[in-house]
Amino acid sequence: MEIVTASAAVGYIGKVEENSAKLYEDIAQKHPKDGETFLSLAKENRRNKKSIQYAYQGVISDKLEACFCFDNFDTDNYSIKTELPEGITYPDALRKLIDMEEKTQKFLLDAAKQSKSLVPDVSWIFERVGKKRTERIAKLRLMLDKIAK
């Protein structure tokens, strides 16, 4: 899906955050030992979604080029998957989650770069939420390392 407008970018990432939250909630039920960590990640996903919406709705105005702030920006280039195959093993599930977080991070940081000069407040929140992904990825890697040991 090609994204050209701020609305489409905000709407798309909102769906990714919501679907990621649901995914973490499901995994928390299946793997209660790490349940608390997964639930905290889900909570953060929902907080991110709200922060992005507030930033966008708080500054959107006809002075800004919201309908023209993205160029050659396609979600297909990121293929963020927020579902896990049935019967996947726990280590493989963690690997998929890391992949999802890395791709989401790349999407957010690329979106931030593209929208920087035209919709700076939205760009700033994309960047902030994107950078925070580093901690999430590290957390998931640590969990994977523990299992491997």
């Binding site: 899906m1 090609e2 050209v4 407008t5 701020a6 609305s7 489409a8 709407g11 966008y56 709705q57 708080g58 500054v59 959107i60 105005s61 006809d62 002075k63 800004l64 080029e65 919201a66 309908c67 023209f68 702030c69 000069s117 035209l118």
Partner: protein, 502 residues
């Protein structure tokens, strides 16, 4: 991608809101409110009678003594609640705007935000409305001035910003202690019904905030009614100057008349090409060109360039502009891929189709013909027009002089900044103009010399915030400005008191 969910599911019956009651009009004349993208009927709106506007003014007048004696602090608490409710309804009212007007969802949300900002600024009335005092203007004598509300104000809304424009005035009028009667555009009246519903939910007392739907009879009724103390109008210069301003002069009413425009956008040789072009797309084609701040004429200025350099620079800008305009995605604006929606209705489209032909007949070169309709999605073509671009436009052409109010851009070339300013000054309007450059000297000269109310520097749409005046000069504006301080002046009388105690 799917279309965002439509908040209007069935045909609405628009009622008047008078004295806190939702009243069905007695008028036999009922108009359809049509979604310009789908051509489906969204609502039935009455063309209310003279008797109905008289009734609304009577109720507002009777309510005024109670409202003016409600303290400013108490009055703005209603507005705080209204703001909260508007935030809660943010997405719904934005989508309603897209459905009834056609603008993109980004543009509708921008309009909602700007409307809410007006309410936010008006909540500062307890500070903003304060007067002045000087002790001892003579020994034992003090003088002070304070502001008092005036009475009832009529607000006449345009079709192009169905949500925001009445909010340029309504919250300030009400916060200052006045009562209002709003007449929304009959083309897209649903947004003002939604706002009145929220005002009711916020608990604003019956009779303070009234809405009467209709057309010319309602406007004439407002203009001639002795119970109305002032009029706020946004629309064409012909109506604003020749009807509203003149009639308010005759009947002694205060008036804000924000009128037509023909805005120039200057591109200097050192402009950042990519950002300038994107900004121009918003300026010329945002809101489908239906706003008084839209760019109309793009002037490519060859200041300091040799002839061959200027030719190359001109070609580069024209090519980039035409390419970007040709790539604009047009369609039903609840589709988030869409960058430009339809015109408000098919009559407006037909008028613009005629103006494109007029440009051709006048000798301008049509580089991009928006009459060739290309849409995202399968929608009736009735109100859709794609972007058009003319080059070889001269200032004497009709398309260069008059406000077209649609997605048509005229490109001109001039050698110097002085010449560009001269062309702007020869145009009768003075609403907005912008310069795209990185050069401080050129910018300073432009800002200093140009006789234009709203000036942009690397900004394509010069829309002032709620806490600044919305300016306008020449034939773009008549009466008193609006904006934070100006609004307080407009909606209040000053009373000066000199006191001595024996």
């Amino acid at each position: 991608m799917t279309i965002l969910e439509e908040p209007i599911k069935e045909v609405l019956t628009i009622k008047n809101y008078i004295g806190g009651e939702w009243v069905e009009s007695k008028s036999e004349k009922i108009l359809d409110v049509i979604n310009p993208a789908t051509q489906k009927v969204l609502a039935k709106v009455p063309v209310s009678t003279r008797g109905e506007i008289d009734e609304a003014v009577k109720v507002a007048k009777e309510t005024f003594p109670m409202w003016r004696n409600t303290t400013p602090v108490a009055r703005v608490r209603y507005l705080f609640r209204l703001k909260e409710l508007m935030e809660e309804a943010f997405e719904e009212v934005s989508r309603v705007q897209t459905m009834e007007h056609g603008k993109t969802i980004d543009e509708s949300r921008g309009e909602t935000r700007r409307g809410i900002e007006m309410v936010e600024v008006a909540t500062g009335i307890p500070s903003l409305m304060q007067g002045q005092l000087l002790e001892d203007i003579a020994v034992g004598i003090d003088e002070f001035a304070y502001r008092q509300p005036i009475g009832v104000f009529g607000i006449i809304g345009p079709f192009n910003f169905p949500f925001m424009v009445p909010l340029w005035f309504a919250p300030f009028a009400v916060a200052c202690g006045n009562c209002i009667v709003v007449k929304p555009s009959s083309e897209d009246p649903i947004s003002q019904t939604k706002i009145a519903e929220l005002a009711e939910e916020a608990g604003i007392p019956p009779g303070v905030w009234n809405v009467v739907n209709g057309g010319r009879d309602v406007v004439t009724g407002m203009l001639e009614h002795p119970g109305i103390d002032g009029i706020c109008f946004v629309g064409s210069t012909r109506v604003g100057r020749d009807v509203i301003y003149r009639k308010c002069g005759e009947t002694g009413k205060r008036v804000i008349a924000q009128c037509g425009a023909k805005n120039f956008v200057l591109v200097m040789p050192d402009a950042n090409l990519d950002r300038t072009i994107r900004s121009c797309m918003t300026s010329f084609y945002g809101n489908t060109g239906q706003r008084c701040l839209s760019g109309g004429n793009l002037v490519i200025v060859g200041e300091g360039l040799k002839e061959h350099e200027f030719n190359a620079f001109y070609e580069k800008i024209v090519n980039a502009f035409v390419k970007a305009a040709s790539e604009i995605r047009v369609g039903y604006a609840l589709d988030e891929r869409v960058q430009m929606g339809p015109l408000r209705d098919k009559e407006k489209k037909q008028r613009l189709v005629g103006l494109v032909q007029k440009g051709v007949d006048e000798g301008a070169k049509l580089m991009l013909d928006g009459r060739n309709i290309k849409l995202i999605g399968d929608w009736p073509h009735d109100a859709f027009l794609n972007p058009s671009v003319f080059t070889e436009v001269t200032p004497d052409m009709y398309i260069a002089k008059e406000e077209l109010f649609g997605p048509i851009a005229n490109i001109m070339r001039v050698k110097t900044l002085d010449k560009a300013i001269e062309i702007i000054h020869n145009n009768p309007y003075g609403n907005a103009s912008s310069i795209f450059t990185q050069n401080g000297k050129w910018t300073r000269k432009f800002v200093h010399e140009v006789k234009i109310g709203n000036v942009g520097i690397n900004i394509g749409i010069v829309a002032p915030m709620a806490f600044f005046p919305f300016a306008g000069m020449k034939q773009s504006f008549y009466g008193v400005l609006h904006g934070q301080k100006e609004s307080i002046d407009f909606f209040t009388d000053r009373k000066v008191v000199i006191q001595r105690w024996f």
